[in-house]
């Protein structure tokens, strides 16, 4: 088991966002959490990765995490290549491995030509490709994707699923959070977040 979420609850003032969330993620699986806008999906993701603390409950993680936030969270004045360097250092990846991985991701998601561009000059779709690539850079055991294909064109969307399936085959547990899930057959399990609980 890669992730175990036990009775997670979270409120903001009187607004109860998450009531009692429990679920597990196994290695080599793709799990989806769907829910309407404002249902608390992103809050749950932030609790899982450690950005927020839960009021109650516990998260048990086994292995490294790759987290792709909903919005592209990047440095506007750094280039794509500098992001790969900075985040490789954060992950503790060696220089050679970092170059190999970034090259692979740039090629796979087809944005190698923007390698030396600053983020401020990139389109939303290309920023989202880098946002996702940062989460994939260190080949994590657990991949948490919050609305990962926002802004992707059809080709990139297909490439995203190709890559995700490769990761699954390598034993990575993948959690995808979205308000819109069109291809349910690609997922091993789907939860719906409704009124603060998973159904």
């Amino acid at each position: 088991m890669i992730l175990n979420s036990e009775h997670i609850a979270k409120s903001f003032g009187r607004n109860i966002v998450l009531k009692d969330i429990s679920f597990q993620l196994e290695a080599g699986s793709i799990t989806g959490i769907v829910g309407e806008n404002g249902s608390g999906k992103s809050v749950l993701m932030e609790i899982i990765v450690g950005v927020r603390s839960a009021d109650q409950g516990a998260i048990i993680r086994n292995g490294s995490i790759g987290y792709c936030p909903q919005r592209a969270v990047l440095f506007p004045h750094l280039t794509v290549q500098e992001h790969f360097i900075y985040f490789s250092i954060a992950y503790g990846i060696g220089n050679e491995q970092s170059k190999k991985r970034s090259e692979e991701l740039l090629q796979h998601f087809n944005y190698k030509k923007y390698e030396q561009e600053k983020i401020i000059n990139l389109s939303g779709g290309t920023q989202q490709k880098l946002n996702l690539s940062i989460a994939l850079l260190h080949e994590p055991d657990l991949l948490i994707l919050d609305e990962p294909y926002n802004g992707f064109d059809w080709d990139t969307y297909q490439r995203f699923w190709d890559y995700t399936n490769q990761l699954k085959d390598r034993g990575c547990a993948i959690l995808i959070v979205t308000h819109l899930l069109s291809e349910k057959e690609r997922l091993d399990r789907i939860y719906e977040l409704e009124n603060g609980i998973l159904v």
């Binding site: 609790i47 990765v49 450690g50 950005v51 969270v73 440095f75 004045h77 750094l78 900075y86 992950y91």
Partner: protein, 253 residues
């Protein structure tokens, strides 16, 4: 904690600063603009005044133009460093947090930010010092630059504290402009201060010790050690406060 992470952080922060045109424009233009205004608006009449940090019988004789150059050099250094410190700690908050999720320790990131700020302070102090000297010959330029480093340290730490506490950019800038304007831009001016009532209030403001240091070092042969030490202690209070807030906000839960 690894040195590699700190050096990479420092290098990336400096690249980001240099690539922001507004930062470069502010650094070059503001001190030159302030000092040019002084050149065109102040007179050469001599103004004897006393400094709070020196003995009561010590009078300093300097022209209105001269003291205004020194005073505006202090004001522009304080304002610039404070603004850049706010920019360093407040901008990119979300992506800094992402770096921490990915493996950076908040302390490593904080050290990178502080080292960047220190380099910026030294750069501004040297530039403003040399520029001031071009308008008005400073008796002890090296010591005067150190006085500017001190105002940079105190107001830089204040900018870090404001940036750690306040999320919105506009409110942060307002907090800085208000204090710099009242404190460095008005109350610490020795021409005002010498005759001010309730001077004890002015002594508790952040620019008091750095202003005293800068003026003493620029135009007298007296020691500014006491004012310098007090200024460092004052800056440290802001610095520790801002570091604690940054650490508790950025650590993973």
């Amino acid at each position: 904690m690894t040195v590699n992470k700190i050096i990479t952080g420092l290098s990336m922060i400096l690249r980001m600063l240099v690539r922001q045109k507004i930062v470069i424009v502010l650094l070059l233009i503001i001190p030159a603009f302030f000092l040019t205004i002084v050149e065109f608006t102040t007179s050469d009449r001599m103004l004897p005044f006393q400094l709070a940090s020196l003995d009561d019988d010590v009078f300093i004789n300097i022209s209105e133009k001269g003291i205004s150059f020194i005073f505006f050099a202090v004001a522009s250094s304080g304002f610039l460093v404070s603004f850049l410190a706010l920019n360093l700690i407040q901008k990119n908050n979300e992506v800094n947090r992402r770096l921490i999720i990915c493996g950076y320790h908040p302390i490593e990131l904080l050290i990178s930010i502080l080292l960047s700020l220190f380099l910026v302070i030294v750069l501004i102090a040297v530039y403003v010092g040399v520029l001031t000297n071009a308008f008005y010959t400073i008796d002890h330029l090296g010591r005067f630059v150190l006085g500017l480093v001190l105002i940079g340290f105190v107001y830089g730490s204040y900018g870090l504290a404001v940036g750690s506490l306040i999320k919105a950019e506009l409110e942060g800038i307002l907090m800085i402009v208000l204090l710099v304007n009242i404190d460095v831009g008005w109350l610490q001016n020795p021409l005002f201060y010498a005759e001010a009532q309730n001077q004890i209030i002015i002594k508790f403001l952040p620019a008091y010790f750095p202003s005293q240091t800068a003026i003493i070092t620029a135009v007298t042969d007296y020691s500014a050690a006491a004012a310098t030490v007090n200024g460092i202690l004052y800056g440290l209070v802001f610095l520790i406060f801002s570091m604690l807030i940054f650490f508790f906000k950025m650590r993973t839960k």
